[in-house]
């Protein structure tokens, strides 16, 4: 069985509360969002910069809704995502992800910049699409640990429904100190999100560094 590996120096992720009504508009029929509490689901925003992949270096932004994991094996998933918008900085990365993973894409290159702050204790990602700002997200650190965490990703396109196990390995900081921030701009990139309803502070922040993702082959459901 061949695994697909993506190495990164930095990847940041924020979990933001947003209305379940909004999550349901994004999710395909039959898929349920995980609710933080009644009426409030989770918008997961992740920004990567991969330095090691089959298609070279590239940046990537993923918008996803948190969904229930498929609990079947001895190893329990930490969580599961339904990514509904993925944008990359290169055409090769985009075509690879569509062909290999059936991931839905923003079909133009985006610009992704990372800027460290607070003496290295914070990292800000700025994303531009069509030349104008679409997203700015700052994630802060807490305590760092070497981890090996299993996540799942669910995809759906015209050809079918898919699932993939993804192992994240490397250094990770995860906390709920509410010290990060997101700014979602009024931009076609964010057309599926009711921006005014998204909590601007993430209730959970994750920062992964010097790590990699290992993808199992895609499974058709």
């Amino acid at each position: 069985m061949s695994l697909t590996r993506y190495g990164y120096h930095n990847a940041i992720n924020g979990f933001f509360e947003f209305p379940t009504e909004n999550a349901r508009r994004i999710l395909p029929r039959g898929m349920e969002p995980v609710e933080v509490h009644h009426g409030s689901s989770v918008l997961a925003v992740t920004v990567f910069f991969f330095h090691e992949s089959e298609v070279g270096e590239y940046g990537e932004v993923v918008y996803a809704v948190l969904v229930p994991p498929f609990v079947e094996d001895e190893r329990l998933p930490k969580g599961a995502f339904f990514p509904w918008q993925v944008a990359t900085t290169t055409r090769a990365a985009r075509e690879h992800a569509i062909e290999r993973w059936h991931l839905p894409h923003w079909m133009d290159d985006v610009e992704v910049d990372f800027e460290p702050g607070d003496g290295g204790r914070a990292l800000t990602a700025r994303v531009k699409a069509e030349g104008s700002p679409a997203l700015e997200m700052t994630i802060t650190d807490h305590s760092w640990q070497e981890v090996s965490h299993l996540y799942q990703s669910f995809q759906q396109d015209d050809d079918g429904k898919y699932m993939c196990n993804i192992l994240f390995e490397g250094e990770k900081s995860e906390h709920e100190e509410e010290t990060g921030r997101i700014q979602l701009y009024d931009h076609p990139f964010n057309k599926d999100i009711e921006i005014s309803e998204v909590f601007e502070q993430p209730f959970r922040e994750m920062w992964m560094r010097e790590g990699h993702q290992l993808f199992d082959p895609l499974r058709q459901l």
């Binding site: 069985m1 061949s2 695994l3 509360e17 349920e32 995980v34 509490h37 009644h38 009426g39 409030s40 229930p68 994991p69 498929f70 609990v71 079947e72 094996d73 001895e74 190893r75 329990l76 998933p77 930490k78 807490h142 070497e146 981890v147 090996s148 965490h149 299993l150 196990n165 993804i166 192992l167 390995e169 995860e174 906390h175 709920e176 100190e177 005014s196 209730f203 959970r204 290992l214 993808f215 199992d216």
Partner: protein, 426 residues
């Protein structure tokens, strides 16, 4: 090559998971989650989850005998885990009243409160409670949980909007779910966030707050939150589960403490905290209570509160009214403990009440800390995610008027020593 999800590697330990990982399972069988949950739980129990549901073998006084969940041996412990804020539940007058009631009525109510389960003792108690709260009428529920669920779902409907503080108790959230209203959470104790969210909503609106928040022990920013509520034409429910019989000149609660008793629309409370009994109540106008009697499903589809417990509660209420020195002693204990924790460098968060979280802020260490504390003679419960945010794990203290300063000094010594050994305080 081995699949990624079966890769042996450094698999996460039990602490990387919690109950929230087992809400949803794959497949069509509701039992599919049992095996993965059981596998995780078998690892979690000896590593600290045994500290939950440890059985008490004595009354919940300031000292208790507890069956240790790990060794299965009995331990005599100083108790800072039980509510019983006024130390009333085991007073002789209360026990005598309950004993007389069991002679007269037998064990339970044997019926729904709207059918055969209402006794004259329930009506007398409701009247006495309404008088104590300075309201026209009162309705009694079998538990505090059913009071919130029953009242909120009786009042609000589909199409209405309920605004909840993000730290709201589960019973408030469940009441909103059962009401089928739109639920909007606002940032904890943050009137500006409430303002922002209320400004977008039309129609019937209810704002729900708590007098004292049960996991952090901080008091509601009532004047500011109420001002926003009223400006937007909404009604307010205050849940005084942890504040009735304690706050305010007459012990009516946090609303009285702020002089806003008449401005808050609906007053809810429980008997399990300050009185150490069981049950919940709502006070308001006679019209309101008559309406809630008719529409609170959690009450009229439950058996009424036992007349035995009700008799004990009447005696407990009388003590709470006639002995204001109990409140004075409680606040003196709270002040003493706060000062000593400050001197020892123990973090109790934003608590300004008798509920004090001892902040451990380390999800991996909190069980080890709790285990050491119990082994040294103190009964305290760990609280972890998802009851509190990740990395804000803690031990929750309930101070009682019955504690002596010697009890509290002993507790401070044990807690501070363990936290120092674990590198959690200076």
């Amino acid at each position: 090559m081995e699949p990624a999800h079966k890769k042996a590697g450094d698999k996460p330990g039990f602490a990387e998971y919690d109950y929230s990982n087992f809400y949803y399972g794959a497949g069509d069988d509701p039992l599919n989650l049992l095996t993965p949950f059981a596998r995780w739980y078998r690892e979690a129990v000896p590593n600290g989850y045994y500290l939950y549901q440890e059985a008490l073998e004595s009354a919940p006084t300031t000292h208790v005998r507890v069956r240790n969940g790990k060794t299965k041996e009995s331990q005599d412990l100083l108790n800072l885990a039980s509510y019983n804020y006024l130390g009333i539940s085991y007073r002789p007058e209360v026990k005598r009243a309950a004993a007389e009631a069991i002679e007269k009525y037998g064990l339970g109510a044997s019926g729904s409160p709207i059918l055969s389960g209402t006794f004259e003792i329930h009506q007398k108690f409701a009247d006495e409670l309404a008088q104590f709260k300075g309201k026209e009428a009162c309705i009694i529920f079998p538990t505090g949980y059913s009071a919130n669920v029953g009242f909120i779902s009786a009042l609000m409907r589909s199409g209405d909007t309920i605004f909840l503080d993000q730290y709201s108790h589960a019973s408030i959230v469940d009441g909103a779910i059962l009401a089928k209203s739109k639920t909007v959470f606002f940032r904890h104790n943050n009137p500006m966030d409430l303002e922002r969210k209320m400004s977008r909503v039309r129609g019937k609106k209810l704002v729900v707050v708590e007098g004292v928040y049960s996991m952090d022990g901080d008091i509601c920013a009532l004047p500011e939150v109420l001002e926003v509520t009223k400006r937007h034409g909404a009604r307010m429910l205050i849940d005084e589960a942890h504040s009735t019989f304690l706050f305010g000149p007459n012990g009516r609660g946090v609303a009285e403490h702020f002089g806003l008793d008449k401005d808050v629309d609906f007053h809810l409370g429980t008997f399990s905290k300050s009185l150490g009994g069981q049950g919940g109540f709502v006070c308001g106008t006679r019209e309101l209570i008559d309406y809630v009697v008719a529409f609170s499903r959690s009450r009229f589809f439950s058996c009424n509160l036992s007349p035995v417990v009700t008799a004990g509660l009447r005696a407990a209420l009388q003590i709470a009214r006639e002995e204001p020195e109990l409140r004075a002693k409680l606040w003196s204990n709270v002040a003493f403990l706060r000062r000593r924790f400050e001197e020892e460098g123990v973090d109790i968060g934003k608590s300004n009440s008798q509920v004090m979280p001892v902040m451990v802020n380390n999800d991996a260490k909190v069980f080890a800390v709790a285990e050491k504390i119990q082994d040294r003679g103190l009964f305290l419960n760990p609280v972890t995610y998802p009851a509190v945010p990740k990395h804000r794990s803690r031990l929750r203290i309930s101070v009682s008027a019955a504690h002596t300063e010697e009890d509290l000094e002993t507790a401070v010594g044990i807690i501070a020593d363990v936290l120092r050994e674990e590198g959690i305080c200076r």
